[in-house]
Symmetry: C2
Subunit: 255 residues, 2 copies
Amino acid sequence: MASQLIELQGRSLQPSGVPAGVLDLFIRRLSALCPLQMHEAAAIAGLVRDVSRVSPHTTILEDGIPANEALILLSGLACHYKVLDTARRQMTGFVLPGDFCDYGFLSSSPVRQCVMTLGPTVMGRIDLKQLSALGDKLPNIVLAMMRGASAEQACARELVISLGARDAQQRMAHCLCELYTRLRVVGLVDRGQFELALTQAELGEALGLSTVHVNRTIQQLRKKKLVAMAQGKVRILDFPSLARIAAFDGRYLRS
Amino acid sequence: MASQLIELQGRSLQPSGVPAGVLDLFIRRLSALCPLQMHEAAAIAGLVRDVSRVSPHTTILEDGIPANEALILLSGLACHYKVLDTARRQMTGFVLPGDFCDYGFLSSSPVRQCVMTLGPTVMGRIDLKQLSALGDKLPNIVLAMMRGASAEQACARELVISLGARDAQQRMAHCLCELYTRLRVVGLVDRGQFELALTQAELGEALGLSTVHVNRTIQQLRKKKLVAMAQGKVRILDFPSLARIAAFDGRYLRS
DNA sequence: CGATATCTTGAATTCCTTCAATGGTAGTGG
DNA sequence: CCACTACCATTGAAGGAATTCAAGATATCG
């Protein structure tokens, strides 16, 4: 796993040696799941260690391996996926900044699916013993994490619906609506625009479509002036119309 | 919700008024998730109340409603589903005997998807306050439930893979392999045969296929002498071959 | 600036859907 | 006991959505 300690960028250090600011998204995400008091947020932020960059297309969690730490995506993009016999690959969900990469640690279950980075990312780690001890003292922390797992479950179910009952255009629109909504929670959307380090081929792996068809589908949405996508950036031009096409109802993302 | 108290069938009663035996599958399922001591199993079984029959095709949990009790399927079959604008319906997972219908109660999340019975079923309920109090005393109970939620998550992800990357025959084979494996855990498979109160149209809603194509796919599997399906019963004739077709690897079902 | 990856386009094919009709089976009531 | 009804399974034929194959255009990066 090619990773190195992140540079400090001239920021002040917390006791753990983690630059302030890097953990903002993590705390913002947790608080959105369950409102945290200042000391609760500080306590869990204090457990994050080994903050490090991870190169694109690196598998950071392997199927079937018991975890001994909780992995948090601090910036960038990652995904759950599985490789089939046929060398075909299917993604089953995105991990966005502030999310835990896998929630199996909550029930001491082994990781059930590989997790891989897509663009360049920054990861943080929390020792499970420490996390467990903290959870005993601050139940809101545990609640927030369990709600995170619940939200991830809801996303997976929604993806089932996309792949089972929506056509290509609806799938694409729904995916963009979800990313837009989830990224907005952590403040990563600026005037309808967000970063998305994802090729069309990779989008196809997420949506169960061929690369060619992804391309044609995007063009349809472009032609309708609903989105603009280029250079790893997505701009949502007309969210209401996009949501209408996809029959997107973001309530499944709420806690 | 058309439900009535189950008859007693001449069995001895536990203090709660629930006939002995009805809860066996529930305990077996929980113990498979996390081995329980006798007193732990007895404790949670003692909380189950309002055991009642529910008619086929009854929606027992509604999208978005906060739950005030945990619902357990004691016998029969149920599913998670969502109805789309287009009047199309997509199932996102099966609930088998011994399973909780929804795990949202673990994080005080509202139910995120409707749950509906398929065949005739028997349901049990546990008050969330009592369950929470019990969980504080017996952490293994909580662990078992959280592992149940984790297993359900794994099932949803696997369904994503089926709908996104497997053709009709592989989907069908994979679905049958999963049902076979899950039902075997609770002892509901007899010489390769199990009950499945599901029409071909409903199977299509689960697998993202049209009724016609479900029919043709089943015929292919029949012709290969892999399965026999009729009158709500499925017999797996050649599990290894079926698993090979689907590239089924049951490890995702383990805790 | 050349090399590689990604995006784009066209044409042929495949898998699955839709429509429509028939056959089978179980339950209902005369 | 048999007609009647309703639901489910099955089959054929036509159409459509998405895939595959193949090639060319554009971007990206060392």
